[in-house]
């Protein structure tokens, strides 16, 4: 064989990889740009200059900024923007990993019952006013987190009994989702007006409770778990060709599956415990990415996270400002913005754009 052609294929591959890397970078810059833009958007009448000034004043002794601007931008807008970004990343990453590990394009934290589990935990905390760790300010958060992980454990346990087939796992997840939905319905049915409204609210999801103290914990956790999951990119790629092929490529399929599922469950649970149910992103971000850059998990995982962050950040900024000062629950806006975008990609078949 001639060396020319070998070199050629190498270049084709390098070009494809380069484009994917570029795409990842563009997404990253896009998220940053929207974040900067979002910093200057809000119900308070602050000019762009004042908003950025407030941020700059924190690091540089450049100019005097009013306390008002400082509180609005640093205490209210920034934590919320960061919360939107890390929530989007978590859901996007978890969605991509779950779909990959289960080889099923319909899987999302929602299909596996994680969201319903979290919602059920939250609803129990709302109605009974108690959680697994007693009463307190974070009762709902802790209960939601705990129930979400419990769901994953139950679903995995059930599938284990039948030799960990992917189908059993997904069906068990769907079934558990129904069960928890039934519990939520029951709680809604028997609870009073106040609690009912609170549960409905939690189910709609939202980022208005974002605070520095939560964001500070979540950022390192989300980044850590995302990087950890990216280490399994090659295994996920191989597993998408089927368990047998993956196993013949030296992968311990069951081990990778349980690690990836647990990590993404923790990732999802830790954000939705704070935000309530934000559907759609976990399901659709990976698909948007696959349509744009293909399925190589080395790129898919970070891009899916960034797309999630982008969609959630844009949606949340919209819901903060559309009929300001009234806010719209973010789940509603996410669907309104995300679904048409997704359908457009699906129909226009643009996935070969980089060739």
């Amino acid at each position: 064989m001639s060396d020319d052609e070998v070199f050629d294929a190498e270049e084709v591959y390098a070009r494809a990889s380069g484009k994917k890397t570029l795409f990842t970078l563009v997404l990253f810059v896009g998220v940053l740009a929207v974040a900067v833009f979002a910093t200057s958007m809000g119900a308070a009448s602050l000019g762009m200059g004042e908003s950025f000034g407030a941020v700059l004043a924190e690091f540089l002794p450049v100019e005097e900024v009013s306390t008002f601007a400082q509180v609005v931008v640093l205490q209210l807008r920034l934590p919320r923007i960061l919360m939107a970004i890390i929530t989007g990343i978590s859901l996007g990453v978890a969605g991509a990993v779950m779909q990959g590990v289960l080889r099923n394009p319909l899987v999302s934290p929602y299909t596996l019952g994680l969201s319903s589990g979290a919602a059920c935990g939250a609803a129990i905390a709302i109605v009974l006013g108690v959680g697994v760790l007693g009463a307190g300010r974070y009762v709902i958060v802790i209960n939601a987190f705990f129930f979400s992980l419990l769901t994953m454990a139950i679903v995995y346990g059930i599938s284990r009994m039948r030799g960990t087939s992917v189908e059993t796992l997904i069906l068990a997840g769907v079934a558990m989702g129904y069960l928890f939905s039934a519990v939520i319905s029951l709680l809604k049915y028997v609870s009073g007006n106040e609690e009912l409204r609170e549960i409905v609210f939690w189910l709609m999801g939202g980022l208005y409770t974002a605070r520095w103290e939560n964001v500070i914990i979540l950022i390192p956790a989300v980044l850590f778990f995302t990087l950890l999951l990216m280490r399994y990119s090659w295994d996920l790629n191989a597993m998408s060709a089927g368990e047998e092929v993956a196993s013949s490529l030296g992968i311990n399929v069951n081990r990778v599956r349980i690690i990836c599922l647990s990590l993404s469950a923790v990732l999802t649970a830790s954000v939705i415990a704070f935000t309530g149910i934000i559907g759609f992103i976990g399901l659709v971000s990976p698909h948007v990415c696959r349509l744009l850059i293909g399925s190589d998990h080395r790129y898919l995982i970070p891009c899916s996270g960034l797309i999630g962050a982008l969609v959630l950040l844009v949606s949340d900024t919209a819901c903060r400002t559309m009929i300001s000062p009234t806010e719209i629950p973010v789940g509603i806006v996410t669907a309104f913005i995300g679904v048409p975008f997704f359908l457009y990609l699906l129909v226009s078949r643009k996935r070969r754009w980089w060739q």
Binding site: M1, D235, V245
Partner: protein, 256 residues
């Protein structure tokens, strides 16, 4: 590289599907596993590749016990080509073949890996597909790509599970020719589970005929494919003629 299977038994649940299988494959040899449906051809392939864990028995690779090797080291020796490949998500052909490098690489793809993939694609005559999507290809092309992935592992033994089922006669011949060329040029061995006795006869050096969970007979195609053996194993009356290049050609007449 010499592969030896000794006293291997495997069962799903309570029903035994393989019992005390013993066989050997020499370096540079193509061995076909033949036998009726349910005789355990695919199961044996999967047991050899450690996809299934046999309850009893050992597989030796060059005298070393396979079960003691790390899964990574083992996967550098054995390449597996499944009966059919279904990709749920869109991957390019290059990406799929690159998956075969998984046992050799960490997270980062080296230029050597890319070179191996490119060389494999060229060897298989499918380099023009490199940036095409897997789901756009025909069945024969998909089969070649699955083989390319296994080849990219740079294995010493290639395991093929019914590589020609679902293929038209042209693709059947192409795929078998590639296997033959591989074994000759790369000095590796190949074990194939085969349904088509005539293709098996034409391309294998040795055949293992399975019946009722065990090995019925072993030998070169001429000694294995006799009317008596076929009648005994398949329950079919057949004529065996002298075919292409002196290989036996089986003409099934009627079931008994």
């Amino acid at each position: 590289m010499k592969l030896k299977v000794k006293d291997l038994s495997f069962s799903y649940g309570s029903a035994n599907t393989l019992e005390d299988i013993t066989m050997e494959v020499d370096k540079g040899e193509i061995v076909s596993l033949v036998g009726p449906n349910g005789a355990g051809k695919s199961t044996l392939i999967k047991c050899i590749d450690r996809i299934l864990k046999p309850q009893k028995g050992t597989v030796f690779v060059d005298g070393k016990e396979a079960a003691r090797l790390s899964s990574k080291d083992f996967s550098k020796m054995m390449g597996y080509v499944p009966q059919s490949t279904l990709e749920v998500f869109p991957y390019t052909v290059f990406d799929i073949v690159l998956m075969g490098r998984r046992p050799h690489i960490g997270w980062r793809v080296t230029s050597n890996d890319v070179k191996v993939v490119a060389r494999t694609l060229r060897f298989m005559g499918i380099e023009e597909f490199a940036s095409r999507y897997f789901d756009e290809l025909s069945g024969g092309e998909k089969q070649k790509i699955a083989m390319a992935r296994a080849l990219a592992q740079e294995p010493k033994v290639l395991l093929l599970d019914e590589p020609t089922s679902n293929l038209d006669i042209r693709h059947q011949l192409e795929v078998m020719n590639i296997v033959k060329k591989l074994v000759q040029e790369k000095k590796i061995s190949a074990i194939m589970a085969m349904h088509d006795l005539n293709l098996a006869s034409r391309f294998s050096d040795n055949m293992v005929m399975l019946k009722d969970k065990g090995v019925f007979t072993v030998g070169d195609p001429k000694s294995v494919l006799t009317p008596a053996n076929i009648e005994n194993v398949y329950g079919v009356r057949a004529e065996v003629r002298n075919g292409h290049m002196g290989r036996p050609y089986v003409m099934p007449i009627e079931p008994i």
